[in-house]
Symmetry: C2
Subunit: 209 residues, 2 copies
Amino acid sequence: MKYKISANVIRRLPRYLRRMTMLERQEVEKVSSTELGERMGLTASQIRQDFNCFGGFGQQGYGYNVKQLREDIGGILGLDRTLSAIVIGAGNLGRALIANFHFSSYGFCLEAAFDTDPALIGTSVNGTAILNGASLEAYLTENHVDVAVLTMPKGFAAEIARLLVRRGVRGIWNFTGTDIDADLGDTVVEDVHLSDSLLTLGYYLRGVS
Amino acid sequence: MKYKISANVIRRLPRYLRRMTMLERQEVEKVSSTELGERMGLTASQIRQDFNCFGGFGQQGYGYNVKQLREDIGGILGLDRTLSAIVIGAGNLGRALIANFHFSSYGFCLEAAFDTDPALIGTSVNGTAILNGASLEAYLTENHVDVAVLTMPKGFAAEIARLLVRRGVRGIWNFTGTDIDADLGDTVVEDVHLSDSLLTLGYYLRGVS
């Protein structure tokens, strides 16, 4: 079934999950597709369509049970199946992610970080050891890693991506701000483009000035 | 005209801009809506519709001139009108953005950063001075700031947002990972939710495992 669902629907699932988590924290028990749409800038029919892709979660005229919906969406996203992750590049951005990003809340276990800076190798951030970048290939040979988080300078992106693919890493979370110029086979790359977000903000500010 | 364009179209503009910048770098001169759609996972008709919102950029059967399109989209996004920005919170994430994010490429001038850590106050990162967080309100009284980048701990988000709104800051780029719980009037908030991106990656990896 998964393969029939459009990428746009998939991309909305994390947003639904966030919204449900928030509603649950506010002790809201039920929510209608209309209310949900208003809060999220989507139409009620869009929301019903999205949920129908997964068999539908609600009862007509009753609305959705918030807790149940949060659990169901979490299940679809597979939060119960933990994936292993490593961070490559323990500079400011890498350390910020290691220290503050709750990998475990999203079904990931952060197992190690790598850097080539002798001042960082052997230290740890928030319990995550920073290992020698030179040992990355050996590490991947001995350990199963699902996802590599790329937070090193972009000049190394293609070379490291090739190494990752060769060693069976199936997912790359790419913060280098560059498109990875390498044959990645079946490895899935998720690029983080912070500039898209800032440009959108800028558009709205310039429009009203 | 701007107010009639849907948020979804606006959000695609930065992606078009990135794609055009990349094609230009590869010395591609023309691109059809079909080619563009294939590269971006959109349909050709979707792309033509998007561009028609702005009066259309191409000639039927000829394709789009890459350089011209890049300039036109940059113009719509208002890259020629520089907005001023400050970073609030010069921890790892704040410093990573100050050091590596090219604010100027996106029409922003980064003017200062603020932190409350005595070890950071008075230092600078990549030419941007880190000022005392206690002087933020005074700074905003004396300087016009369009956008504040929130990279401090989320516990301070509501309090600082209220101060920003009171002092006329019209845009907030929110990295705190929390929805800002304050009355923000007309101030535009752009939340960065890194977890959405990782959850999407996780979905695809779990689906094929």
